[in-house]
């Protein structure tokens, strides 16, 4: 096993953990946390595996394209988190609920 593959596997583990938590937990804040951890896992796969490619300079910098993509992904994730939290806070204010009401996920 090489370093990129190692981090790729760690990323996949994060994805699976996040998915488990997403399904198991009912509290919406936890679902948001789970999605964030999942996305971190995906980003780790993206960047970790990029280390396999020959890079420039010493020490070789990571492939810039996945980096740019992950930057984009991070910003999208924070936007999603912000929107989700606003909706959840609003739901709580209206109904007092912090879950979706009917369990069972999606």
């Amino acid at each position: 096993m090489t370093q990129p593959v190692f981090w790729g596997l760690v990323g996949m583990a994060l994805v699976v953990m996040g998915l488990y938590a997403l399904i198991v937990h009912a509290h919406l804040l936890r679902k948001v946390l789970a999605l964030n951890i999942m996305s971190s896992g995906v980003f780790l796969v993206f960047i970790g595996l990029a280390r396999r490619a020959p890079g420039e300079g010493t020490p070789p910098a990571a492939d810039p394209v996945p980096q740019a993509m992950v930057l984009t992904g991070i910003v999208v994730a924070v936007a999603a988190t912000g929107l989700a939290l606003a909706l959840i806070v609003r739901l709580r204010a209206l109904t007092g609920r912090t879950t979706l009401g009917d369990e069972g996920g999606h």
Binding site: L28, S39, V45, A80, A84, R90, L91, L94, L100
Partner: protein, 511 residues
């Protein structure tokens, strides 16, 4: 032929630009000037629709178009590519979008708060749809998917009530989860092929490491199925579509769901080369077919059991999505007409379902509720709206000569050719069930209205936009000779000259 002016050599690239940037810029202006949002929004919506339709004519006349964004060649930069498939879906979006905009201008007339947020978000959504249909870059598609998802979620939440919020949150979670699965697939594709351009990935697929590629495709398709609400993943759809404001429901059901379906189709056709490469493609197609068939039955039965009109329509969407996926096993086994059928069903469903939701909105606005059993009084006073609903129902049922009929006919033809009688039976049964739930509503038009309640008036813009959409769904059935050549445009994208040149360039760049 003057239409050539709209093609690749003439205004074509500018029209591509307009299709994405015009609604986007309009959205910003609407956001900055809330007071003028409705006026500006409506004008720019009509302009966008005109530009998109011109683009479709251009594609029809002059063939597919390509734009290198930023002027960079494919592996490095992002391509916009407009072929028949995307032009057809964009045109459908334009028609639905224009009508929904007309409807919304009337619908939100008295609710300032909803109006100020509806317009910018809706225009962004439209820009995202066009961007998605144009993009030929897997990662860029991820961004457009997220854009689309967030816009849809925000619009759903506009309803403001607890039901709308719950629907929106569920939608957001599902949407983000689906996008993440898709992104995971993109990551693996990038690491397997060193590019995210669709054509280049397609060229690399035969040599790509197998398990990685299979997992990548599985992850991408699973994510997209989640967003498309195919059968076991459909649970989120009815609450979201059923609780949003009427124009929003129309957009969600008619367009947003189609976007992720389009992407599945795109991946299947352009990246996997139609899925007949090896056994696993076949196997996946069969799975999709089974899920689609289950969706048709399950969605229709549930639609029939709903007591509320908007939920009925939403479950009908679940059922109709099933048809789209039933095309996969049929097409993979050699019935290429099944693709045309699925596409036709997608277009017809877009028009018809938008008409249905808009009519439901008018009924709801008029009667103050959408309980089907008590619709009589509203239905009697709004004959145009009812007509729109019924005509849209004709297309949903798949009766001739509507667009839905053509789609079903093509699917049935493929099914009978291959002797797949079970699929054929499901297609037919779905039509009968659709008739049952459509007439469950329409039947109320003929019962004597008992209650005279104080009812709100419905502006003519709301009634006519729905009716025009429904008529479009019917007329679509007569346009196969026009649209069929359109769908052929760019089907051989993988071997077209500009792309093979790009493939050569990657080969140089990657080594």
């Amino acid at each position: 032929m003057p239409l050539q002016l709209l093609g690749p050599g003439g205004l074509g690239p500018d029209l591509l630009l307009a299709a994405v940037f015009l609604p986007l810029a309009a959205a910003l202006v609407c956001f900055l000037l809330p007071r003028l949002a409705a006026t500006l929004g409506l004008i720019s919506a009509l302009l966008t629709a005109a530009a998109t339709l011109a683009l479709m004519l251009g594609v029809l006349a002059g063939g597919g178009m390509e734009v290198q964004l930023g002027g960079w060649q494919a592996p490095l930069g992002i391509r916009w590519r407009s072929d028949g498939l995307s032009a057809a879906l964009m045109a459908m979006t334009a028609v639905v979008g224009a009508m929904v905009s007309l409807y919304a201008a009337a619908y939100f007339r008295h609710t300032a708060y909803e109006r100020t947020y509806f317009w910018p978000i809706w225009l962004v959504l439209w820009a995202a749809l066009n961007a998605l249909f144009l993009s030929a870059d897997l990662f860029n598609l991820y961004v457009t998917l997220e854009l689309l998802g967030f816009a849809a979620v925000s619009l759903t939440a506009l309803g403001g009530g607890a039901a709308a919020l719950t629907g929106a949150i569920r939608y957001l979670l599902v949407s983000v989860l689906g996008s993440l699965a898709y992104l995971l697939g993109v990551a693996l594709v990038y690491h397997g092929c060193g590019t995210v351009d669709i054509a280049l990935v397609a060229a690399c697929v035969p040599d790509a490491p197998r398990p990685a590629l299979k997992v990548a495709v599985a992850a991408m398709i699973a994510g997209l199925l989640l967003k498309t609400a195919l059968f076991p993943f459909h649970v989120w759809l009815p609450p979201a579509h059923g609780s949003a404001p009427a124009p929003v429901s129309a957009v969600l059901s008619a367009l947003v769901v189609k976007a992720s379906f389009y992407l599945v189709l795109r991946l299947w056709l352009d990246v996997l080369g139609g899925g007949d490469g090896d056994g696993s493609g076949r196997w996946l197609a069969e799975l999709l077919g089974v899920l689609g068939a289950a969706a048709v039955i399950w969605g229709s039965v549930l639609a029939l059991r709903q007591a509320r009109l908007k939920l009925l329509i939403a479950y009908s969407t679940v059922a109709q999505i099933g048809y789209l996926f039933m095309a996969f096993p049929l097409a993979v086994a050699g019935g290429a007409a099944a693709w045309t059928g699925a596409l036709y069903l997608a277009l017809a469903h877009g028009l018809a379902k938008a008409a249905m939701f808009l009519s439901a909105g008018s009924l709801l606005r008029f009667g103050g509720h959408d309980r089907i059993a008590e619709l009589d009084s509203a239905v009697h006073r709004l004959p145009l709206t009812l007509t729109a609903f019924a005509l849209a129902g004709v297309s949903i049922m798949g009766l001739p000569p509507s667009g839905g009929f053509i789609g079903k006919w093509l699917l049935l033809e493929a099914a009978f050719q291959q002797g797949r009688f079970v699929l054929a039976a499901v297609i037919l049964l779905g039509g009968v069930l659709a008739a049952a739930y459509v007439f469950k509503v329409v039947g109320h038009a003929f019962t004597p209205a008992e209650r005279e309640r104080r009812l709100r008036s419905v502006p003519p813009g709301m009634e006519w936009s729905a009716l025009l959409l429904a008529l479009a769904a019917i007329v679509l059935g007569l346009t196969l000779p026009l649209i069929s050549p359109l769908l052929q445009v760019g089907t051989d994208a993988a071997v077209a000259p500009p792309v093979s040149a790009a493939v050569a360039l990657t080969a140089g760049g990657a080594v």
